[in-house]
Symmetry: C2
Subunit: 203 residues, 2 copies
């Protein structure tokens, strides 16, 4: 098994945090995204969509998409459960994971891709107006989850889950997308401190 | 249990097709999206994000996000499996489901939202340039899956899965987003005919 990753990129970081929470060691190889390593001929053979992360299995099959890779490890190593346990809990964890993706992770990533000079090569054309809209959308979502986090320690309930992973990676990406975090969101701030203090956050 | 749905809207249709494939009957209530029923006070209490579908459980909890709702029913009613069976198959089904979401469903939906006059009230401001970019992205992805479908009957393998549901709903939405389907994609065309002929496609 070999996991293709990249420093700084948000999606591989989701998988690395997930593996750290599971205490799993998976061999990794970093691509240099600044040098467009994800577009090399060799990597394009592995993932024609030219994105990391990508997990090469022992028989050569290549699994892509961060959440699919995480769920694969969850099914192989159930503890600690990061997708919930039982039909109902799993459904609500997935609901939160997807809400965070659409409301926060996606908007912050789009703000970054459509405004940062480093992305001008990849996102052609950049639409600055789209970045502005996505920043507003992300801020609205932060207000929404701030209210939710008044009632529980983690996004999907009492336990840390993949929804928190997606959210912390998004929050840490805000500075690169120049997404302002609305002031006074104390529940969100406390959640962020709590999640960032876990050893996995360094992954 | 009560499922809030809406005619014509793509996300509720994903859930309805899923339920039809499982031969499950779930009580449904339609919202009138043209009258902004999803923004009513009563519905906002159920889903503060003001979107359908939403599944109200018997204890009053509200599950949202199409794929989370589908996975909930999958866990309650395993047959036929629409998310795959076993760690590996489930991972690859999720990979395809997500690839289709990011490469096709999302782009077609954005092209629709940012170009169709009926969406001017909801998507403010509409960015016509974004619609143009998303149409290109969707067409690229159609070329990609056309090549993949040369090797197997359904997107994730030999069996029909949720990835096919997301894709057929996206393909049927192309006309509203004015997304041109590149000519000569015979595998995609045959797949579409095959999937559209299933009784569930009428859901």
């Amino acid at each position: 098994m070999l996991l293709y990753s990249a420093p700084f990129a948000p999606n591989p970081r989701r998988v690395r945090i997930f593996l750290a929470e599971k205490a799993l060691n998976v061999p990794m190889r970093d691509l240099d995204l600044a040098a467009l390593g994800q577009k090399s001929e060799a990597f394009t053979k592995l993932n024609p969509l030219q994105r990391v992360p990508a997990l090469v299995l022992d028989d050569g099959a290549v699994l892509t998409e961060s959440v699919a890779i995480c769920r694969f490890f969850e099914r192989l190593h159930a503890e600690p459960p990061l997708f919930g346990s039982g039909a109902r809990e799993e459904a609500f964890v997935e609901m939160w994971q997807r809400r965070v993706e659409f409301g926060l992770f996606g908007p912050v990533a789009l703000a970054f891709r459509h405004s940062h000079p480093a992305m001008a090569k990849l996102e052609r054309p950049q639409l600055p107006e789209l970045a502005v809209l996505q920043r507003e959308r992300a801020a609205d979502f932060m207000r929404f989850i701030d209210a939710e986090l008044a009632e529980r320690p983690f996004l999907a309930g009492d336990a840390y889950t993949i929804a928190d992973i997606t959210a912390i990676v998004a929050m840490d990406m805000t500075k690169y997308g120049r997404v302002d975090i609305p002031s006074g969101l104390l529940n969100l701030e406390n959640w962020r401190t709590r999640v960032s203090s876990r050893p996995s956050a360094k992954a």
